[in-house]
């Protein structure tokens, strides 16, 4: 099918294993791309423009956002972060599905701007398991873990704004479920408006 690719908004609290699930998804689906964010912060050693981020001046960023060229944006620690629409749309025009891995506030912005976006929220099996995973990292003091757990509660409350919820109790199963969601979404009748007419007239 020569249809446009999907715009997928993927969210989930830190510690749910979003990154690992995404890696498994990309390994399964060659037509899925991960969107690259823009930022006004300076590149760190080893970061390349257009790979980790699109690095932008504040002027370029604010102009792009003002012109409606950001699918979502926010200020964080004095820097702007956002998702430029143009590269996402270029990929979609090529039939590629583009995944935006973002937090729920940005996710809500995207879904408001693009009602055809597919929202997927990755849930931990339980908060207890999430706490276990966060503490298992052992790189953070307990206070930071507690802050993350509080943030996770806030994020999870917004899960109902997403079309789908996927529990990450197994990375393989979660990735399979997301792949199934992408396959199913492409078969939705409202995404195939010309198909019925084409078959009737051809």
């Amino acid at each position: 099918m020569a249809n446009k690719g999907l715009l997928v908004v993927l969210s989930g609290p830190s510690g749910t294993g979003k990154g690992t699930v995404l890696k498994a998804l990309l390994a399964r689906c060659e037509n899925v791309r991960l969107s690259i964010s823009a930022t006004t912060r300076a590149p760190r050693p080893g970061e390349a423009d257009g790979r980790e981020y699109y690095f932008m001046t504040r002027e370029k960023f604010t102009q792009t956002a003002a012109a409606g060229g950001m699918l979502e944006s926010a200020e964080y620690c004095g820097n702007f972060y956002g998702t430029p629409a143009a590269p996402v749309e270029r990929w979609r025009e090529q039939g590629l599905d583009v995944v935006l891995e973002i937090e729920t506030v940005g996710g809500a912005q995207v879904q408001r701007k693009r009602p055809d976006a597919v929202g997927i929220f990755i849930l931990p099996p339980s908060l207890r398991e999430l706490a276990r995973r966060l503490r298992g990292r052992a790189t953070e003091p307990e206070a930071a873990v507690e802050r993350r757990l509080a943030a996770a509660r806030t994020e999870i409350r917004r899960a109902k704004e997403y079309g789908y919820v996927v529990v990450n109790d197994s990375v393989e199963r979660a990735a399979d479920e997301i792949r199934a969601i992408l396959t199913a979404e492409k078969d939705r009748v409202e995404r195939n408006p010309q198909m019925i007419e084409r078959i009737l007239t051809e």
Copy 2:
């Protein structure tokens, strides 16, 4: 997940290969069941009650329908045909997905009664291909093929009343897509109302 199974309405004009796709789906998914219709016509040799059909008296059928116990029903050649709700619901309570293979008028009845039903319409790749398949059967005179093609056009016009359209250009791919649809539907946020609360409170 201990969720109720899905109610799936599967339609598509005769000659689209619905039956073959369904067989491939049942081979893939052990938790899928095919609904059994009820009829007031007499059993034919070799047919067993509860296997090909639930054979009912006219009195039993009309009473069941009047009591709201039929998901859809119609009269055809002087006999009643319909889908009894009770066995469907029993399977669903066991977590099994139940597929109703019915034409579009019955399909619309079911979707009106059960808005949570998943509607899937199987399309032929083209009307030309459908004609080729129908003529390939070579068991019917050309006039009958023409009647089927006209009926197919009418059915296909109702495809937009279904949630999903699946083109049967390959039986394996069509069955895979339907399996993906069932997997995705179970992850829809509105089918998991307690999940978010459970994770937050557990």
